[in-house]
Symmetry: C2
Subunit: 242 residues, 2 copies
């Protein structure tokens, strides 16, 4: 499987292949993006909505930084069922499995572009070398991973709520935090999430989500217009925990 290529349109690597690590140090780079772009073998890619970034079973050899858009990591079961493990927001690092051991390992998640996505991909080896040569790189990566952990843990909190209503509300609040854009009448989540997709993320079913979202709409807490969800008042919504 060379699945990592499917659905890609390569927009070219860094124009000037700077010596590993030095670029970051020289510019006094202070963002993950700068660091990743300076890595040798780094590639900037654009993936269209719905296209796969890597499949389960593909070799794990690159680390990704999500520059723009949203990516869904999911687990696919033999039954055909698919559950969402993470919805990654901008500036998230993923594919870190490849950093782990020196040993070759394979992806076990399915990574799909949930919107049109721009990402920076670098070979795990380059990342390792860059860390050795420029100490600030390690710190930035570490911070990236730390925030991924916090993000994942809030998702665990969401999922341990017993009743589906609380779970959905909690999930909507997470979405607001990660993907919400403030407008004049509340926070809008423009991910074009279907009810099915929400169900797969919080471990429920399509029908239940439809019903619960209907309740929230009737309660005047949210508005849904062509898959665009608007939360009028997150604080009021948070009171909805039962």
């Amino acid at each position: 499987m060379v699945g990592a290529m499917r659905g890609f349109s390569r927009t070219g690597g860094p124009s000037t292949p700077a010596p590993v690590g030095l670029a970051a140090a020289a510019n006094g780079a202070s963002t993950l993006l700068d660091v990743m772009r300076g890595l040798s073998g780094c590639v900037i890619e654009t993936v269209e909505r719905g296209k796969t970034i890597f499949f389960p079973g593909d070799p794990a050899e690159r680390v990704y930084l999500l520059r723009r858009g949203a990516v869904r990591l999911s687990r696919v079961y033999e039954s055909g069922e698919e559950i969402t493990v993470a919805l990654l927001r901008e500036n998230s690092l993923f594919g870190v499995l490849s950093l782990l051991t020196g040993q070759r390992s394979d992806r076990f998640y399915h990574a799909v572009a949930f919107t049109r996505v721009e990402l920076v991909a670098a070979p795990a080896g380059s990342v390792r070398r860059a860390i050795e040569q420029d100490s600030s790189v390690g710190l930035l990566l570490l911070q990236g991973l730390s925030s991924r952990i916090l993000q994942t843990e809030t998702m665990i909190e969401t999922l341990t709520h017993r009743d589906m209503s609380s779970r959905l509300v909690s999930f909507l609040l997470v979405l607001c935090r990660d993907f919400g854009v403030p407008g004049n009448d509340g926070i809008t989540i423009d991910l074009r999430l279907s009810h099915q997709a929400i169900a797969e993320a919080i471990g429920s079913t399509r029908v239940t989500i439809t019903r619960l979202l209907g309740d929230l709409r009737q309660a005047g807490l949210v508005q849904i217009d062509r898959k665009k969800i608007t939360v009028f008042d997150p604080v009021a919504l948070a009171k909805r925990f039962s």
Copy 2:
């Protein structure tokens, strides 16, 4: 709040306070433990079962490495309800919040020693400095965090199972992986987990856990002797997914 001290018995810092980072490099340190022990300001602590390591609201200023035992991270709600966000196994890094921004931040989880615990704690500042001075430190920390992420994500998988039976089974398998010790008649989990504690981890209730564990016992898949859970055959148990 100076809660980080409660319940501690300090067993002394590193005997020879080696210059930051150098210790690791000199010994060709290759484990997280070595790295952490070499940090300036590092403290090795022992915490008894049930004692708190940090409270929500405590300032987040140290990074921890769990050397021996198990630690429970949980979220406490106003209602008094408490849900488990992570059960950390040996060699897990936690308290990474302090690494994030330079800004002062507070813990929002409750960290409790689930067994008698040995841990190494180092000030976030030392960790940052060590990374700058010795590049291998950064890589080791990254690997530590990566495996934490994978661990957390399998927990999300567990929690998105719809029926409680599958959820419990999946959780038991996670416990086997993280805490199980193989014996002649299966894998034993000696965490002294009460049914209540399991319920808090997988978002269920005490009564349901009692019933489901009873079912598994009658099916001859597990044995429970004074809170010690023995899984006879993980593979057979895995077939229990509905």
